[in-house]
Symmetry: D2
Subunit: 476 residues, 4 copies
């Protein structure tokens, strides 16, 4: 009997510390050996000329997230709806883009507890092929939820609470946010935060709508940089008061990142995430005729080309240490996606969010590594090692190491691809990156030792994705 | 007939740009001449060996402020009460300390408009001897108040709106604060802000009380520096969004001042005030046996000796450009002052605030000028010129210049005095500065050409104080 | 007999603290009275509609500076030459532009002592009409000079030592600079410093010349911002080591100013000067055909329009607190000025420096006050009060105060003028500001009570300028 | 035949990205396999319960460095002498402390070329057991040296030029330093810099000696923080001008580190090193009776306990990314070491430097990892991965990776040891860390697959150390 189920042969294996040319021996879904030459594999995958990277860990994506009262970012009164992306389609998309694990979101519906939503979501997630873990959104932090329910989900390994400081049906007051921070501290959870000032955006939005400025492009006008900086500073200050670590989600600008840097310099455990949209899109993308701008609408808003440069700088400095997708897709056609309130709806009533699960790694590789902005190892840290560690998934995920899950992305660093929606393999009918040319592309994806994507063809059994119970957050 | 009603002879006249030895000729309550020698005065006051300074302008003091539902800082349900200091006693105290004008506060009672309170307050203020102007507190920013009433008080020359970001019955939400900022911008008012985070203090207070930590010293524990820094940053960010100038009241620490400095460096019109208590008292003063610590309780809390040094540094750098008293006195004895909720009341139920109207100038002079921390001119700017300019009272107040009101403080820079409550000449039965030795003391005060204090004896007719309508804020 | 020799009537009198409408009574060359109405003057000058400012104090100008071995900035071996501007022409130019006092430079010739140069320079200066004071350049800090001669010039009231950290025949090594700092500290002198790195400029210059890049525009290439920042930081560090106050001359960029700001924040006595050329000229001005670019050549080099904005910001913040001219004129025509080494000379051999004595105040007023960048009082502080105080000339100069010299500039704030060389009334055959339109212009200049300029016509007796012995530097 | 020469079994293998439990298979001196279980080793070393770390890379140590004209730091005129530590004793000491490679220094003697010194040094180094590489000191940057000789040593793989900005016989002027920077840029060398201001130290030293302040403790007085900050800023500025990467050696204080951080934020390739002495010793250590203080004398001087905290902070932030020993030992007894100028010699004449080759890793592990200041992986990066990468020795050295040299330190993280000189196994008769208690100790050292230290006993054949030709510096 062969010692190894699968041998990945002859690749350039990259991780957070450097690269080495070696074979990888996989046994029982785990990496069992790294060696100059491994001969006794039941199967062999030739990685000659390729990079072998840890499978991507996307620690911020919205998948099959059921909403009551309308989508995030709309004020509507719709019946219960479900985010278009299912765990099956999301798995296909993730594998197509080299990602093998995600952390997605269990909603909380106002006036209800979280346990029913966790139960529902566990069932949904179990139908996919991706490995998954959950952030628990807290939108109604009652004593019941915080004192009785949170300990139960922590026991399951759900180790992060997500709060919104804006969005009509979700935002928490400072008082509520403090309660969540205190609860998280007691149970060793990370708190992840969407930082924008609720009242400021509401005021600006009302002013704009009153003035008839309703087109998608005014979305950016409604939430300038200062509202993100304010909420970032406030989130940090309250976390500092409680002595609770937080991660600031989707930092779009240098001013907010600077607040994170200041906190880090004071010795606080504050981490910052950014996303490909803040490195490649701008507010001007929303300024297209008619409804078309809606395709680029997400929060915080994309900024300017200059601001993209500043965000790169903050990545380079290490202030922003995770790049996730914030995948949150709504189709442009049909009646249930971006156009749910009609194609003439004011920007306020258009669902926020863009898809990015498949595009995240190729875009960051191309814009980062191929263009010389970051090293290959920095890329691996940003997209796999750091999210795995912060989310308490290491050393099982995010690294190529003995004992780790054999999650691998085989990458052709020279392959040039023009992004087009079919390549994304998601449920959404468009990608905001359509037409973007990238250098570097994943040619095979391995999940726990199983080749689940090869040359763009995803082959994986629904229901094989595993729930990942998480350890407490770790320092990066 | 003599050319001048009064000549102040032979003093060293100091103002914001330097000092000069000259006589001052006063006619009709105004300064009519500055000259090497003025001979034709109906009366002469010898200022030989003395400094002649502009009368102090105290742009932040609480005088005879009627409250419904209890004092600021208490959560109680008392009937309508009045701040102990009346305009008569406040005038005596101000003159004793070299101050000749104040800006004090018209309250707003929740659920009511501001006009009745203005009318009531005008009547009260008219009974004193001090010249006065008002900040209008906004605690219930209804459309009625903001759209109909504010323009009326602006027309009277009440040119600043005061908001609280903490305190149970007063604090505004971000949404309300934005409305006030927008209103102020429309009418050319300054907005002055008490910056501490409401929810954070509430949470800490509840924790402390639940743990039986009720003594006065826990007041400081309930509101650490981070809650002041947070609210300062937020106030600045929202003002930045609206493009509205603000003054941050009573900055107690370098972290909050640093937020102001950063805003100023971004080119924003943000000013910072501090008070003598943050230069001379510490949190340890509240840690005295029994009720005694209540005498030093004010908000923000005094900090540490090291923090005092940092506040001096921020004065030196120009970040903090006004030193006012935040005079807000409550007697320690009796049943209507500090002990209104009993002498065993938890810190939450003890009225906040300390008296400082008379002590402000001597303390700042002694700690600042006599100890070499600031120049004499810097002292004059901090205590008279800058507040007059920012409050729109210049050039009538705050300077020694032709045409300005003849408000003068004759100062003996060598006189050594030990502060004791009788010297304060206020209605309060104590001073938190009892026993402090100072070098430099006002030996005469002149208000609009009239000698209203001489060697500590105040002599002035009740009802002679004048209302000062204000121009829009001016840059300093 | 009239009480006053001259009354300036009805002007808006401006100083560092604000403005007031009053008459000024002058007696014996000094300001004897400021009053609402002064009637008994032997003569009256109507200032109705005009601003009355303190006469400008230009604390950095090169006048009739004899050089041996060629002009500053050339490496040549010429015989002794004299800077074209004589004290007579400089006086005319200064009065034309509203300036009434200067601090100019006594050279030191290598290998010689300073006393003979002082004696020579005193004779030259005595022939002008301007009041004057001296910086003593130290280019050869022998023990003889520092220990025996410096005390003698300090006794005369020459209270500042000027050192160059670059320029072939002048620059001091760190070791020499330290000696000067120690000497200055012992005798209470200020040290003023030209901050550029000698070796770096030399290296760049040689590279450029070797590559045939000899045109005037390469002057800017030879001394980029980093060489100014380096020398500024070094000068500050060595002054910090010795605990000696310094003034950094002609700051052209934000990076150098930032070093000064950091030093000030550490509590050091470090002041920063800038000049009109860094607010209005750019390196591109040197990029003109043939020799023409030489007209704009000075050191440090003018930078970019963006950098001008940053320098304004540093003025606004108070980091740069004096604006002087660094007047150092060389005519473009003839054989003794810019073209001394020929009109094809490489940039290294073209004398550095541009004229600005007359243009300084109008340019700063127009670009600063008229365009709303700074207040009128800030203008007065930058151009008169601050230089007078730092140079130890206050309270005699730089203020409008009882007892001060009656040096006044009557300013028409609305007058629009296009700068042209004849208006400059200097000895130089061009002005680099030719064609610049300004709003605001001096219509009369008074020096010690005497009207020396009226509507552009200068009338003053040669030899009436006075030497100004200086007190130790004062804090601003 | 067994597949592996040696298997290290059952350790916790640590590297820059995390740790994993695995066996290590070594073949031909290189790491050939990392696997969950490796059975076919010719020999097995049990690492159960131990950490397995990359062998330490000490990128800054002085070994057997011949000096002419006296030791570094003395002004004397001695005949040629040799640093006491030979490559044999240094190898023993390094292995005892878990270090397997060093970068040490080839001197240049003034007036001579570098090639003879390289030849001599190659012979010396070849006698040791450690792997080694060289920095080439440039103390006399003639054209001959820079243009003809440097290319020859670069061709050999000597890829860094070391310059001193202080020390009597070694310091370069700015002009010379620029030449070295330009040369380094042309040939792809790193420049490493000793940053202290020569003139300032000289001035302070002369002042102190003249005042009779000659004891060892005055060494610290002679070189305060400001002289280090100044030279650091200057080195960075000149490197910025030339666009040449530099490493700042032995940063002792936050002010110098802050200059490095600012440069990094500007995007410059500037790296900072610190050493254990700046984390554990203070200036007070030199204040011991008689000659004893000399034992702690090195440059820059150790500072204070507070400064140690700030240096840790700068390590934590990533500004300082390498911790080397700056091993430079002189015995306290005898006549050739610290006492070479006599035991009453003034501090200026006592050789600078302290031994630290063996102590570096245990001290940093104990003070850093065991005390919770840094993570285990950060320790590995600071002491092995980062120096290997910056020095162009990766991926051969500094990592545990397939293909890398099998240089390993087996570490008992719980072992408590009191440092004593015999444990250091060097040629020097003392250690400045005598008596320091550490937690964590290397129990075995493997160099290229050979166990060269076991339980403190070093066993290795002299002459087996290999020269390491270096690639260009790499980003960290
Ligand atoms: Zn979000
Ligand atoms: Zn999201
Ligand atoms: Zn307040
Ligand atoms: Zn108040
Ligand atoms: Zn100069
Ligand atoms: Zn000059
Ligand atoms: Zn060194
Ligand atoms: Zn060294």
């Amino acid at each position: 009997m062969a010692d190894y189920d699968l041998v990945v042969r002859g690749g350039q294996v990259a991780s957070g510390f450097g690269t080495m040319r070696c074979d990888i021996g996989i046994r029982g879904g785990r990496i069992a050996a790294l060696a100059d030459r491994i001969t006794d594999g039941a199967a062999v995958l030739d990685a000659g000329g390729l990079l072998v990277l840890p499978g991507g860990v996307d620690s911020h994506c919205h998948i099959e997230e059921p909403a009551r009262g309308g989508y995030v970012g709309t004020g509507g009164d719709l019946a219960v709806t479900v985010n278009e992306e299912s765990f099956r389609t999301a798995s296909t998309s993730a594998f197509a883009g080299g990602t093998t694990s995600v952390v997605c979101f269990v909603p909380q519906w106002k006036g209800e507890g979280i346990l029913p939503r966790v139960a529902d979501y566990e069932q949904r997630a179990a139908k996919g092929m991706l490995d998954y873990s959950f952030h628990q959104i807290i939108s109604d932090p009652t004593d019941e939820v915080l004192e009785r329910e949170v300990p139960q989900i922590v026991a399951k390994g759900i180790r992060s609470l997500k709060v919104f400081l804006t969005y009509e049906p979700l935002h928490l007051s400072d008082e509520q946010f403090l309660k969540v921070l205190v609860t998280a501290r007691r149970h060793g959870c990370l708190v992840t935060v969407h930082c924008e000032n609720y009242a400021a955006i509401k005021w600006r939005t009302e002013m704009l709508l009153r003035a008839g400025m309703t087109a998608p492009k005014y979305h950016a006008w409604s939430r300038p940089i200062v509202v993100e900086r304010e909420a970032t500073h406030r989130a940090i200050a309250l976390a500092e008061l409680v002595d609770q670590p937080i991660q600031v989600f989707h930092v779009s600008c240098a001013e907010a990142a600077e607040e994170i840097a200041r906190a880090q310099h004071r010795g606080l455990k504050v981490w910052g995430e950014t996303c490909p949209q803040y490195l490649t899109l701008t507010a001007a993308d929303m300024d297209r005729p008619g409804f078309e701008g809606a395709a680029y609408m997400c929060s915080p808003s994309p900024r300017t080309v200059e601001e993209q440069g500043r965000v790169w700088e903050m990545i380079r400095r290490g202030t922003l240490d995770i790049v996730s997708s914030d995948h949150c897709g709504f189709s442009m056609g049909g009646e249930a996606g971006k156009a749910v309130s009609g194609r003439d709806a004011p920007f306020r009533d258009i669902p926020n969010g863009i898809p990015g699960l498949a595009a995240r790694l190729p875009i960051l590789f191309s814009e980062g590594v191929s263009k010389g902005r970051i090293s290959l190892e920095h890329f691996v840290r940003l997209t796999a090692t750091n999210p795995a560690r912060l989310m308490g998934l290491a050393p099982r995920k995010g690294v190529i190491a003995i004992g780790a899950d054999a999650d691998l992305a085989l990458w052709d660093p020279k392959k040039r691809v023009t992004i087009a929606n079919p390549l994304m393999q998601h449920a959404i009918d468009y990608t905001p990156y359509e037409g973007l040319e990238v250098t570097g592309w994943p040619v095979a994806t391995i999940r726990r030792g199983e080749v689940v994507m090869r040359d763009g063809v995803v082959q994986a059994e629904p229901g094989t994705g595993q729930f990942l119970p998480r350890a407490p957050y770790d320092f990066i």
